[in-house]
Structures are given as C-alpha cells and as structure tokens.
Symmetry: C2
Subunit: 445 residues, 2 copies
C-alpha cells in the first residue's frame, strides 16, 4: 500500500525507467520462442500482472454464457444454456439502446446497470446509502492524476508486521511533503497490491480520521475485495466504514472507491470495465466530472454487462447457482492452496522471505541477495530486484515484476508474483524459481 | 469535411455550449417515456449518432458468431455454428494470451491481429506497403489534440457542388491562421461526415501536395470507407494515393489513417475498437507514441477480434460466405434506399434542401427557416438549427443533431441525420420530420 500502485501513471513512468529492459526482454523472448529458438523452457509463465486467465484460470461460466447470449441472441432460444442465463441475457438486451450490445450506451454506463451496481454496493455495505448519480462506469483507470501535475508522496507499510499500516507512517509521509507539495489525496489499496494485507475496520477508521483532519481526498482502490482468503480477515469497504462513522465524517470526507470486472472472481481483464463511486464530492467537482465523462465514449458494453453480473451473481434456487458456487469455490481453494505453497517454497530458500498475505492475488517475497549479486546488478545498471527478474525471465522463463515498481522501502528488494494460477502452473513456477534462486545464490556466494 | 468533426474534442466543447440543452432534453424525454408520460410518440427515433444498431439495424452474423464462440468456447464444439466460424474462433483463441479473451493483450493490439490488419491495408491499397509496426489498435480516438493545446482552424466544403473540397479554401483557411497559430495538421474525413462526399483520387493528390508544401501532418479519418454508395464514387485511401504518388511525397508526407469496427458494415459501436496507421512519422515521434501506448491498457479484446473480422471477412467457398454477402448487400441496399427516400422527402419540403451524398451514413439537409423562427430561436438563446432540433425532438420524437456542431459555414443551418436505419424506421422518421417541418413553416410564416 502506497501512493504508488500498478495503474498509477507515475508508477508507469518509473517502470519505464526501471524496467524498460524487462519489457523489451519479454517481447524478445516471446518472439524467439515463437520462432523455435531453443531455451531451457518451452513457455514463459507470465505472473507479471494480475491477469488470472493468462496462466489458464478458467472464466466463470455464468458470465461467459450471458455475454455469449447477448452477443448472439439466437442462443437465448437455444435450450443448451441455463434458463436463468437466457432470461438474464434477454433482460439485458432489452436495456441496451436498440436492443443490441453493438450500440453506444450512455457515457457513464447503462442506466439500469448503474442502478444495480448502486444497489449492490448498498447490500455489500450493510444497507449504507448509495446514489446511482455518484457511480461512473469506465473502461479503465480514467482517474490518473498525472495530467493535473500531481506529485506522489510515498508511505510504507510495515513488512515485518504483515504489511500493516501505521498511522505514524502516514503522518511522517505527509510531513515529508512540506515545502515540496501540498498533498490533496490519499491513495490506498485494500486488499493490498502487491502486499496482500487486508485492513481492519479500525485501521480504516483511523485513515478516515486522518484524511478528515488533513482534508485529504481518499482514493480507495478496492478491486481485490472479492479475493480475501485470510482466515481472520474480512473485507470492509471505506464507504461502509465512512457511513458507519456518522457525521461529521460521513457527510464531509471525500472518497472515491474503485472496483473492476478485471479482478476478483471474474478476472475478465480483456473486457475492460470498472466503476468508481464518488462520495461527498463538491457539486462543482461532480459537475466537472460529469462533463468530462460526457465528452468521452462509453465503456465497452460487454464489459458493463460483466460488471452487472459481478454485482448480481446467481442466487440460491437459480439453475446456475450450484455451478457458480462450485466455480467460485474452486477459485478460492486454488488461491489458498497457491499462497500456502508459495509461502512454504519461498521461505525455505535462503535469501528469500515471504510474509503471509490475507487477500489480493499476489505474493511479494523479499530478496536478500549476496553483495556480489548486488554489485553485478549495479554493473548492469539495474536495481537488484530488476536484475533478479531479468535473469529469472531469461534463465527460467518466469515473468515476475520487481518491487522497485511498487514503491518498496529504500534498501529493500522484492519480486511480485500473481498467485491466481492453476495449481500445476504454480508448482512449475515454484520449481523454476527454486532452481533459479538456488543457482543464483550459489553463483554469487 | 472540416478541421472539426464528431469526435473532435473541440467540437465536444462547442457542443457543450451549443447543445447542452439538447442533451439534457433527450435524457429527460427518455425518462418521461419510461415513466409513461403521454407524448405524441411512443419512442424516440435516435438518429443523432452514427450508430446503426441503435435504430435496429442487425449486426453481421459472422462477426457475432465468432465473438460468441470466443467468449464461450463450448460453442466451438457445437455444430450449430458454421465450421469456418468455429475454426476461426479456435485460431483466434490460440492467439490470445492464455487462450482466453479475458486476458490483457499487448497494449497496441494482439500481434497476430495487428499483422493481419496490416495485410488487409496492403490488399485494399493495391499492394501498397504497410508495416505492422505502424499500426496501433485502440479502444477509441486516442488521438485528441486538445491536450496539446491545439486550436482548430475551420475550412469549408462547397455545399452547392456536392460538398466538394476546393484547394483555394484550404489556402484561405491556412492564411486565416496567420498571427493566430501555426497549423501543423490537416484533419480530413473521407467519406465525409456529416456531408457524405467522397473525395476523388485527384482531390486527394491535391490535398497531399498541399500538405507536403505546407508541411502539414494529414489526419485522415476514413472510418466510413466501407459505406460508399454513389454510383460513380469509389473509396481510395490517402495511404494508397500517397504510395502511388511516389517520392518525394510517399516518403515524406506524414499521415495518420483511422478506421474502426464501430462504423461501416460492422457498426459495432458498443465493442469500442479501432486502429490508426501512421506513415512517415519521425522515429522520435513514433517512439513517443509507442511509449504512450505502453503506459495504457489494451483495447477490449473482443473489439480487436471484431476488427480482425472486418479486415478478413469470409471468402468465396467459405460456408459463411453466402450469408455474409447477403447481409452486407442488404445493408448497402438499405443505405441506398434510405438516402434516396430522404433526398426525395427533404427536397420536396419548402425551407429544406439536401445535397445528394456519395458515402458515409448521414444526410445533412440545409434549413432555410422563416425570419420569425430565427427570431424565436434567438429569444430562446439558441442557434436556428439547435432550436429546430430541440423542437423536432420535443414535438416529433426525432433526435437529430444541429449543423452548428460540425463547423457549418457562417449563416447556414443544417441538421444531421443518420440514414443507416431499417427502412420502416426511415419512413416513420420522414413522416415525423415532414409533419413537424410543415407545421413549423406554417407557424412561423
């Protein structure tokens, strides 16, 4: 958790500098493999992004069936698809302009879907009020601060304490900005990416109090809310805690909460759709945002429909319910299995330590490399973690990302690995990392 | 044709001022109709955008079948879909990372699709060379100049001469910019939106010579290239003419050519996907564009697949070929039928004249309103054409757009109507416009 995160434009710029080599390398290797160049591996295991389907996780059938039926309405009359799928597709098409997913929708999302997303938020948050007018559906992160000329001020989580957020650290970060800039927003990712921590209700309350006191706009990236696996952890939204805190917080603290069809159980990255709920924003700002959105085109309609399904999964009694539960349960089991396997494997290797996470789809093991390896990285003009990732990709065909991209504490080095993969892929990945790491430690000891 | 066009950010800003009333009105009316408020019409005919499916035009089956099979691969094993559809879907899935349309693709488009789009361009342009490295697939118009602080300098087409482009007018426009700004790019839409003209090879040559002489970057919006219906008209791309002109033009004149799955025969606006081919750009600029693209997310994968089908329709001998030809032929026939019906109807009304077009999906009839109507518009704080559109929508339930949005010549007034609609909708539209217009002329005579 930091001001910096994966989709942050600053982060992207840092990446450009820090890991341009890595990106050129993956393109080259993929091309070489396509051309049949011999390597110690036949395929790259790409765990560089939070993209579960890239490594072979299966999409949810209910989502895909509805989308297919909306695209090709002949399927609605075909009894091969469950009846609730066909009914749902029929209703959704009725809500599309011209009865087709091929038409433009309203620029901030199909009104019926926006309404249902709002109802979903309310249900999720124990009945807390949600206004459809505050919800904007978009194809991706439209919320980059870069164009406003913003400067990120990093704060750090306590790795040894399971990546906990300490309020003193937020105070320190804010104080560090004095004379440099005037922070206006606090960016937070819960559940954490890459660190996998899940904030408690109490921790969220403290952050809200802090934001209230310092007049900071909270940008809450909550896209991993459906993938909490820690036994004692529970996702609680910023919106819910804010509502429960009551006035003056609930009607003054400005909040943007993000969610996406790309993450969580759906993992439909290729469909490009998410939403943001805006709370307590100045009406003038809301009007500005409305105008900005009106100028743009709508999010892909099929992505909007996926979002609708995410907000309204099958219910007990629906024909699709049992299989939907089976599939989501399988994803959850896989996630728990993989994180445990990864923890065991990484923590058994010298020079690697990995904190147990509670949610999200990543592990973020820490590297303690021998001085000679660090020296070698320096000679190559790379940070130690980027050096590690470059060699891991070249020698072992595992595409992971260096911690440098995620604002890690000065002097620490990590790699980020997506763990939402089929278990056999995870085993192969762990075999490759173990073998690579063992050799590296030997070579540079 | 003008520096201003539908997706131009400036245009959007002008719209905001000129037609904010119209957009608020359509939202209100749709809501009132949903609530059962009684009006002289049960449904609005929305011909405000180039969105054929919104008024009930059917999508191409081949496109939809492939997309449905890619989304729900069980359909690949189902013999209900034509075998070429199933094979194509299978191959496309093999090209998707992780074999799924749910994964992120490369940010500038799936490499195999980019290659095939490049081959398609080459075929279209009589074998002219096309480099896949110059092709960028994106979810929409990423090419707004607004952020660069650009100023549009309008030029006008000769309405009386079928919206022909005269070179003197380009010279005049460029001269008019002296002391105001230093024009760097020439924006052109061919086939025209809203004017429907199709440029001849000779006219394109002249524009390229002009751009070469004045060192202007040509931005050629060619999204209506598949909908040319004029008997003597033919679409010729800027890229092709440039290549045929040979050096020094072919290796110096900078060109961006745009195409989209939203327009033409596909009309898949809701999928959000298009491409641009960049020619003769400075390598430093290309590197900058590459970097900008790398920072963003990919276009929706299903949109990319639609683009691939657009570039590679079924061929003679393919099982899907006969029905594909039947469907595209039907669209063409409908377009010709509708444009003729619209011309006859509009030109038979006093105060309305409509130039025959040769391509695109719009007609752009000119209004000559009685002075009392113009006075009334002025009192309402609206331009005459916006006043006309506001009343046409309110009284007759036809949503058209005022010419003010498209940079019409000072003192002239037009309305833009999309004519890619089912013929019965076109008839109902013409009935409504005729009745409304006749009443308006009577009221204000």
């Amino acid at each position: 958790m930091s001001m910096l995160q994966e989709n942050d434009p600053y982060m992207k710029d840092m990446k450009q500098v820090e890991t341009a080599a890595l990106f050129r390398q993956i393109i080259r290797i993929m091309e070489e493999l396509r051309q049949g160049v011999k390597k110690p591996y036949k395929e790259v295991i790409d765990v560089a992004s939070g993209d579960p389907q890239k490594t072979g996780m299966k999409p949810l059938s209910f989502v895909r069936q509805i989308l297919a039926a909306c695209l090709y309405p002949q399927l609605i009359n075909d009894n091969k698809l469950p009846v609730d799928v066909r009914q749902r597709a029929q209703r959704l098409l009725g809500e599309c302009p011209g009865g087709s997913v091929g038409s433009y929708s309203a620029t901030r999302g199909m009104p019926d879907i926006v309404h249902r997303v709002s109802e979903y938020i309310s249900r999720r948050d124990g009945g807390a009020w949600s206004n459809p007018e505050n919800i904007y559906i978009s194809p991706g992160s439209q919320w980059s601060l870069a164009e406003l000329g913003a400067v990120p001020v990093p704060y750090y989580l306590d790795e040894e304490q399971g990546w906990e957020l300490h309020m003193e650290e937020l105070h320190r970060a804010l104080a560090s900005a004095k004379g440099v800039c005037n922070p206006v927003a606090l960016y937070i990712i819960n559940p954490g990416n890459p660190s996998g921590q899940v904030q408690s209700r109490q921790s969220i309350q403290e952050v809200i109090q802090f934001a209230s006191e310092k007049r900071l706009f909270i940008l809450a990236d909550e896209v991993y809310q459906d993938t909490v696996y820690g036994e004692k952890s529970e996702f609680v939204s910023y919106k819910r805690v804010l509502a429960e805190m009551g006035p003056p917080f609930s009607d003054t603290v400005e909040l943007a909460s993000f969610h996406s069809a790309s993450k969580g159980m759906l993992g439909e990255c290729g469909l490009r759709c998410g939403y943001v709920e805006l709370v307590n924003l100045d009406p003038a700002v809301m009007k500005y945002i409305y105008t900005q959105f009106s100028k743009d085109s709508c999010a892909p309609v099929l992505g909007q429909i996926a979002l609708d399904v995410m907000a309204n999964p099958p219910q007990p009694g629906d024909p699709s319910y049992p299989f939907y539960i089976e599939e989501t349960q399988h994803i959850r089991t896989t996630l728990v299995h993989n994180v445990n396997r990864a923890l065991t494997a990484f923590n058994s290797l010298p020079g690697l330590t990995c904190q147990p996470g509670e949610g999200g789809v990543f592990v973020f093991p820490r590297l303690d490399l021998p001085p000679r390896a660090i020296q070698k990285a320096k000679e190559a003009g790379l940070g130690p973690d980027t050096f590690y990732c470059v060699n891991l990709l070249e020698d072992a065909g595992v595409f992971a990302r260096p911690g440098a991209e995620y604002g890690q504490k000065e002097g620490t080095h990590h790699i980020r690995i997506c763990i939402m993969t089929p278990p056999d892929i995870m085993e192969e990945l762990l075999r490759r990392v173990t073998s690579f790491h063992t050799q590296l430690m030997k070579d540079f000891s």
